[in-house]
Symmetry: C2
Subunit: 262 residues, 2 copies
Amino acid sequence: MASHLLLPRKPRKKLLKATAMLDKQAHCASMEADLEAHLKSSFPTNPPLVVTEPMRHLVSCTPKSMAPVLCLAACELVGGRRDRAMDAACAIQLMHAAKCVHGRLIGLDSSPLTYSPAIELLTGDGVFPLGFEIIARNRELDPEIGVRVVMEMTEALGGMVEGQLGRVEGGMEEEWVWERTEGRLCACAAACGALVGGGGEEVVESVRRCGMYVGMMRGSVGLERAENLRSRALELLEAFHEEQRAAMLSLMDMCFHYGFAS
Amino acid sequence: MASHLLLPRKPRKKLLKATAMLDKQAHCASMEADLEAHLKSSFPTNPPLVVTEPMRHLVSCTPKSMAPVLCLAACELVGGRRDRAMDAACAIQLMHAAKCVHGRLIGLDSSPLTYSPAIELLTGDGVFPLGFEIIARNRELDPEIGVRVVMEMTEALGGMVEGQLGRVEGGMEEEWVWERTEGRLCACAAACGALVGGGGEEVVESVRRCGMYVGMMRGSVGLERAENLRSRALELLEAFHEEQRAAMLSLMDMCFHYGFAS
Ligand SMILES: [Mg+2]
């Protein structure tokens, strides 16, 4: 079962043993499948179709980010069950989707619009708060963690806007933009996964840094930089139990060897 | 001291005694002044000027909604101190401002753009989450109330998007649109004010209805409908202490007699 997250790109280094790689692919694919099912069930059912249909459609055809799966892996890393992070991961995916919809409207992505610009703009506006709603209505989540997750997500959104503005105005390094968009989203996703998984302050900060390294690993950074980021992430991971690291390691290896669809 | 919220429109009925009206004006103006000062101090100081300057500018020139002041009045109505509701009122004002910025981009308002469309779109995207951030970072607020307020705000944003979509697609009654935009924002603002002021479930629902009536009172509804809404609001207000009703009554009377700028 191939992971939708993965593009058939040229691997950076010679492949791991084929069987080990298939295990990692399967691990990532299973997280993705869980996430997609949860996302489908998280849409509001009350609003009329005029709002929810474009929302569903635009979210479903958004290019994937690795941040939501990273959120699940971060939760497992700190010893939490994957399903505890499902809402936060969905919220991250919705933020990413809304950003992509609005980015396309202002020419940061050349794919054609599905609806009129007005509908695409309002659909993005409808999708952004849906992530916060999913967090806020989760009654199994300690409210203190809930407001922390909301704050993390607003900070990541601030980074996204800054990164997109940098692209609009031009003159910024690609890595500057990447750090503020995918990098900070991945850091946020990892921190939120660790928070809902029950990690304490120090653990959350360590997992956040690990998320940032993994988020920065792909893209335009080149092999040497990727190897440096990977070894820094691996160093952070040493503090965690071996059996809890599996998802994060799978994700990191897949990301390192293949890169992710942006 | 005239209230900025008030347009010099033709009063619906003969004026109250001039002195009584001046008191009510002063009451509204004092709430507004508190709110504006708090809003100025609530902007993030970390992001670079490229993000915060358009945010400040666009928020400051947004047409006023009565919802933020209603949030303060609702807090006083349930016996809370006005300053407890200041963050929620600011968050409501920011949501309203972001809606107006995006509405102008898609032609729902004919005033000219200040910046390029891309910057106005991203500025709106930056302002929407700021409201949630203000709620989430308030450490004096019980987190359980914090997530309730976040949920209320996401629901109001859903209504806004629905109302704006109705305007874009056309064919909807003006009151249908008004209910989903200003009406639901006012209901949300009142409910949030009651929540942070310490109101229980039943009180919150009663204050929410009162907010909806006040929100629906102005605009295109005509005198008979306005009188009907006013008497329903007054009926709800009877359950509250007389000295706690003053702000809400001032707001309602000003709204009834003059209407508000939208
Ligand atoms: Mg708090």
